[in-house]
């Protein structure tokens, strides 16, 4: 066996071998093509940590002439114990033979000690012509697992299982295009079963699962930091311009508001790019036809109704936050206020949120100590806007984090998003967000520890809102 766990992904052309590699290696650059024979050479994809290889997947070309190969092997058979040696002789004697280039490419890593992951398509019927391929793999004597990939809506899994069970010790269904992170870890754990004969392989795979899980958590925290910084920047941002004597303040105010809107849109776009990069999805596009919710203009009414809080949720959250502040006063006076602080806080908070301005930002004319005036638009005062931004960012994150790297089409939003997406955040957490939004507005930002708290709440909200159940 190889020094580190190595698995050759083999099978018929166009059964999703490259998709499985792209998913497991999180590499969106792997060419996934409908044309058979696109993969010409075996290509290793390693997972390394601190310079140590924990496992390697080898993407291989598909079988092109399996019957001819098997006939050659059978013609040279010298008994069951010599079968791997006969396979080796085949590869050695066909080096440079264009007819068997693909077969040699796919057998070479197996002969070097790789475990076998044989990929079939469970959405289409089983065919006897696969038996030659499975028989060849059996001849190699290497540990083998069959992966039933699902390319299309059909279901022939049972039929495939019956056939595969005769050739493979482990058979798993793995939908390369839809597998989320937990499914990928599940598959890696299954690799461990395949490698149980070699304890060092099993240990490496256990470490790989552990490291990938921690890496995933770190990515989620980094994505939350991106969203936190987006909220901080947007809520503390403002636009200003000199306002000379006699200038049209209304006109200037509108221009500044439009500039502010544009900057917020650009900032949201930048945050999305950063989140996609964290999950190695730089090439992913949110095309408007398929993904209209996230491409919906941030400031549109639809965005507000889809992503923000409803009026009731806004009032309840405002009231709860107000009650919390008032309660602190009650506590400070040792309860002598008979909970008046909490009551008044709740009323003020609730009414404030309900009647809060829907205007994007306040417009102020400020005089300078050293002369002259400036018209200032901002910071953002629209009560629901941070919730809309948060809701959109959380949904975007969920889709990016769940999308695997074999997908080549745009993200598609499922209908489960529903209305008032931010309203799905747990009520107690919404109060923390309201306080944070208030602090950002007051302080024009957050201190380091306050930002860290906001990141933690966003991580918690990410967990509230996903992943979707299969």
């Amino acid at each position: 066996m190889s020094v580190h766990p190595t698995f050759a992904i083999v099978g018929h052309p166009n059964k999703g071998k490259s998709s499985i590699v792209a998913t497991l290696a999180e590499d969106e650059t792997v060419v996934v093509s409908p044309d058979p024979g696109t993969t010409r050479h075996a290509r290793g994809f390693q997972m390394q940590s601190d310079g140590r290889v924990l496992y390697e997947l080898v993407d291989t070309p598909g079988f092109q002439r399996p019957r001819a190969l098997l006939e050659w092997l059978q013609a040279h058979e010298r008994g069951a114990s010599e079968r791997p040696a006969v396979v080796r002789e085949f590869v050695a004697s066909h080096e440079g033979d264009a007819r068997f280039q693909d077969e040699c490419e796919l057998l070479r890593p197996i002969l070097a000690g790789a475990g076998i992951l044989y990929v079939v398509d469970g959405a289409h019927p089983y065919g006897a012509e696969y038996e030659a391929e499975m028989e060849i793999l059996r001849w190699t004597g290497q540990p083998r697992m069959a992966l039933i990939n699902m390319i299309g809506p059909g279901d022939h899994v049972a039929e495939w299982r019956r056939a595969l069970n005769q050739y493979f010790s482990i058979v798993r269904v793995f939908d390369a295009l839809r597998a989320d992170f937990s499914k990928r870890l599940e598959l890696l754990r299954a690799f461990r079963e395949l490698a149980e004969a070699d304890q060092s392989w099993a240990r490496s795979l256990e470490q790989a699962v552990d490291i990938l899980q921690r890496d995933r958590d770190a990515r989620q925290r980094r994505a939350a930091a991106e969203i936190a910084d987006l909220l901080i920047e947007v809520l503390s941002d403002s636009e200003s311009a000199p306002c000379p004597e006699g200038a049209d303040q209304v006109q200037l105010g509108q221009e500044l508001t439009e500039r502010l809107r544009k900057r917020i849109r650009q900032r949201e776009h930048a945050a999305r790019r950063a989140v996609q990069e964290l999950y190695r999805h730089t090439a992913l596009r949110l095309q408007s036809s398929e993904f209209e919710l996230l491409t919906e203009d941030l400031f549109s009414e639809r965005s507000f109704s889809m992503f923000g809080l409803s009026n009731t949720q806004l009032s309840m959250t405002g009231a709860a936050t107000g009650a919390l502040t008032g309660g602190a006063i009650d506590a400070a006076v040792g309860g002598a206020s008979l909970l008046l602080g909490a009551g008044i806080g709740a009323i003020v908070g609730g009414l404030g949120a309900m009647l809060g301005s829907n205007r994007l930002a306040k417009v102020r004319l400020m005089g300078s100590a050293l002369g002259g005036h400036r018209l200032i638009v901002g910071p953002i005062s629209a009560v629901n806007l941070p919730w809309v931004i948060l809701g959109r960012a959380l949904l975007h994150h969920r889709l990016v984090a769940e999308t695997n790297h074999a997908r080549r089409e745009s993200l598609v939003l499922d209908a489960g998003a529903g209305e008032h997406f931010a309203g799905s955040i747990e009520a107690s957490r919404r109060r923390h967000f309201t306080s944070a939004f208030q602090l950002i507005r007051e302080q024009h930002g957050l201190s380091g520890p306050q930002r860290d708290d906001l990141i933690l709440w966003i991580v918690a909200a990410m967990k509230d809102l996903g992943p979707r159940s299969p």
Binding site: G154, E277, L370
Partner: protein, 490 residues
């Protein structure tokens, strides 16, 4: 070579985030790799030290963009200039004030009450106001703090600088408290303002002290005390002893005696200044005044300057560390080294996007081969009649068993001499070279005139889907046989 001295922390707090902003266009993978490898060479865990060492390493390869470096240098310089101006203004004001309060023209003596009021009491009031400014934001004190900061010489100097420099860059707001955005910037601007004002205050006191010493040493000053308030000698004695309490043990000579107080009182309503007989006693006040100036002017200001400098240093650290780009950098520096992917370049085949041609004729007799069980043989006649207009003369299966069995099928077809041969294939399967071998073997036997027509069939005997047809069409064209066609039956 980069200057990593502690004094340049402010410069770096401006330069590093700007550099990181531009660096954001590089791929995250590259940045992770670079930052992690630099971090691996760094000792210690102090985040500031790590960031500054990282900066030292990284800027060797990629120096900061000229405008950013220039801006940071200019703002650092402006900060230095303002500090110098505050020292100068303080010194001039101190010397001027001392010269004014110690003014003696040989007639009326220098009034000790005036000197104390200006150089001790007034300073104590200003120190109290400074302490209010130093407090964190307290509800109820906000308006007073805001007013005081507006009057603070440090704030005025910064506002004047911004006005004169006319900088549009957000970062130039760092020097102006009310314009600084965010807690870190606000804290920095506040302590910067207080540091400047304390620089001016220390300079004021040093200059006042030096000026007083010079006047005492090189001129013959006379001191007395005079006040409209109804204070008698005993009151003033008690007050003087109270003021001298901090140095009474250390410098007894700087505590005025009851006799001195009694003899040095003067009234301007008197016909003439105090007599010359008392002149030697009248000069006895100066140690007390110098000690008061040191204790109530210079010493607290030095303490405040020290405190403001320490807080400014902490605020400058926060300015750097609270920046989201710097925090992201620290995160990258400590990120686990996880690498997924291939070091081998992809060498995928690229095929021309050419489709197969349809069969030139669609009627007549045709032999049929069902490849790999694409259709049950019993279904061939019905399927062909339903989807194609050929009449089936004979149907055979191939691609299922051995290559020798396929060769026998080829021989049998050659014997039939068909004008056309239909090959049904499984549309959902990828075409293999195995099939190509069979087609080429057929062609060799049936001659170039025979039309070979590939028909991909869908699962369950349906016609194939559009995507399946597209794959088969391109493959058929790639085989390069001029009489090999593709039909779909759709």
């Amino acid at each position: 070579m980069h200057d990593a001295r502690p004094g340049s922390l402010f410069h770096e707090a401006l330069e590093i985030p700007a550099w990181l902003e531009a660096d954001g266009t590089r791929s995250l993978t590259d940045r992770l790799e670079r930052d992690r490898s630099i971090a691996a060479t760094l000792p210690g865990s102090d985040p500031i030290a790590r960031v500054r060492h990282w900066w030292l390493a990284v800027r060797r390869d990629t120096p900061p963009a000229a405008p950013d470096a220039e801006f940071a240098a200019n703002l650092s310089r402006a900060r230095g200039i303002i500090t110098f101006l505050m020292l100068l203004i303080g010194a001039l004001a101190g010397a001027g004030t001392a010269a004014a309060v110690f003014r003696y023209d040989g007639t009326w003596p220098v009034n000790v009450v005036t000197v104390l009021a200006v150089l001790a009491v007034l300073q104590l009031v200003l120190i109290a106001l400074t302490l209010i400014l130093m407090l964190p934001k307290v509800p109820g004190l906000g308006a007073l703090q805001s007013l005081l900061s507006g009057l603070n010489p440090g704030a005025l100097a910064a506002a004047l600088y911004r006005r004169v420099a006319g900088r549009k860059d957000e970062r130039s707001r760092l020097l102006v408290w009310h314009e600084a955005r965010g807690p870190a910037a606000g804290r920095f601007a506040r302590w910067q303002m207080l540091t400047w004002s304390q620089c001016a205050a220390v300079s004021f006191n040093v200059a006042a002290l030096v000026c007083a010493l010079v006047l005492i040493a090189f001129t013959d000053l006379a001191f007395g005390w005079s006040t409209t308030l109804r204070l008698d000698d005993a009151d003033v004695y008690r007050l003087a002893r109270l003021l001298a309490a901090p140095w009474r043990e250390l410098w007894p000579a700087a505590v005025p005696s009851a006799e001195l107080i009694e003899h040095s009182r003067f009234f301007r309503l008197a016909a003439s200044p105090p007599s010359a007989v008392a002149a030697s006693e009248l000069t006895g006040w100066w140690p007390f005044l110098l000690a008061a100036l040191l204790t109530y002017g210079l010493l607290p200001r030095c303490c405040l300057l020290l405190l403001a400098s320490i807080r400014l240093r902490a605020a400058t650290r926060n300015l750097l560390l609270d920046d989201p780009r710097v925090r992201a950098l620290l995160d990258r520096m400590s990120a686990a080294d996880v690498h997924l992917g291939s070091d081998v370049k992809e060498t995928a085949a690229v095929f021309p996007d050419v489709d197969a041609r349809p069969a030139p004729a669609m009627s007549g007799d045709a032999a049929v081969v069902v490849w790999s069980g694409a259709l049950p043989l019993g279904e061939v006649h019905r399927w062909t009649a339903e989807h194609l207009r050929w009449r089936v003369t004979e149907a055979m299966a191939a691609g299922n068993r051995t290559i020798a069995a396929d060769a026998a099928v080829v021989e049998r077809i050659a014997g039939l001499q068909p004008e056309a041969l239909i090959v049904y294939v499984r549309g959902w399967e990828a075409p293999l070279l195995d099939l190509q071998d069979f087609i080429q073997a057929l062609r060799a036997k049936v001659g170039s005139q025979c039309s070979l027509i590939l028909v991909p069939v869908g699962a369950n005997g349906d016609v194939s889907s559009e995507s399946q047809r597209s794959i088969w069409s391109r493959w058929t064209a790639r085989v390069g046989d001029p009489a090999l066609y593709m039909e779909t039956g759709a």
